[in-house]
Symmetry: C2
Subunit: 144 residues, 2 copies
Amino acid sequence: MAKEVFKAVVEPREGLTMACKVREFEMLLDEPVELGGNNKAMNPVEALLSSLGACKAIVMRCFAPAHNINLVDFKIELEGDLDPDGFLGKNPEAKIGFSEVRTHITIDAENTQEEIEAFIEFVEKTCPVQDTLVNAANYKIIIN
Amino acid sequence: MAKEVFKAVVEPREGLTMACKVREFEMLLDEPVELGGNNKAMNPVEALLSSLGACKAIVMRCFAPAHNINLVDFKIELEGDLDPDGFLGKNPEAKIGFSEVRTHITIDAENTQEEIEAFIEFVEKTCPVQDTLVNAANYKIIIN
C-alpha cells in the first residue's frame, strides 16, 4: 500500500462550536461554558484523547489474535494535564498543550501479566495516533 | 488557573467500533471497511485531524477581536499523509503515524494579507492541539 491522504474539513458554527467533516461523517466540537463555548460537544483536547484511546483500542483488537492474546474485555481511560493559563496568555511559563498524558488500560485476557505487558508495548509502538504524538510530523500551513 | 485534567474513556463495541466517552458526551470512532471496520464513524487519525482543525478554529474565533482581525468567515481543510504499511508491519521503513500534515486556511477578513499572516502565526503558537503534536507531552502507560 502506498501513502494515503486522510482529510478533514472544519467549518465554524455558532460561537465556538465547530463542525468537523470527514467523508460522509460530521462531528461537532465545542468548548464548555466556562471556556467560552456552548457545550454542545466535547472539546478538541478531549477529542484528541478520544482519538488516542480509540486508536490504541483498535490496534489491540486487530493484533490480539496474531499475538495469541485472548482478549475478553478491556477499557482505556485517558487523562491529560493542561494548564489553560498557557493558551490564555496568562502564564508564559505554562506549556500550551498537554504536558502529561496518562493511559490506564484495564485488560481482561486469558494470558500472563508478562504476555499482556509485551502486547501493550507492541500496541504503543504500532498505534498511528501515539506515533504522531511522540514523533512529530512535518506541519505545513497554507493560507488561501 | 491551575493545571486542569481532561479525561476520556474508550470502550470497545462491535468489531473495531469504539465508544469514546467524555463528560456527558459520547462519540463513536471506527475504521472504514477496507481497513477492517464497520465504517460507523470517522477513524482515529481523521478524528485527530478534526481535533487539530477545530482547535485552530476555536483559537481564531477567540482571539480575533483582541488582534483586530475582523473575521467574516473561514474554513480549515486538513490533509495528513500516512502509510498504512507502517502499522500493518509490511514496511519497517514506513513511519507509523502521520509523516506530514497540511493545514489549508481559507480566511475572509477585513484585514491586510500581512495582518492575516501574523494572526495565523499567533494561532499556530497558541493552539493546544498543535502544541501537543509538535512538543511531545510526557506519556505514561498504567496497566490494571
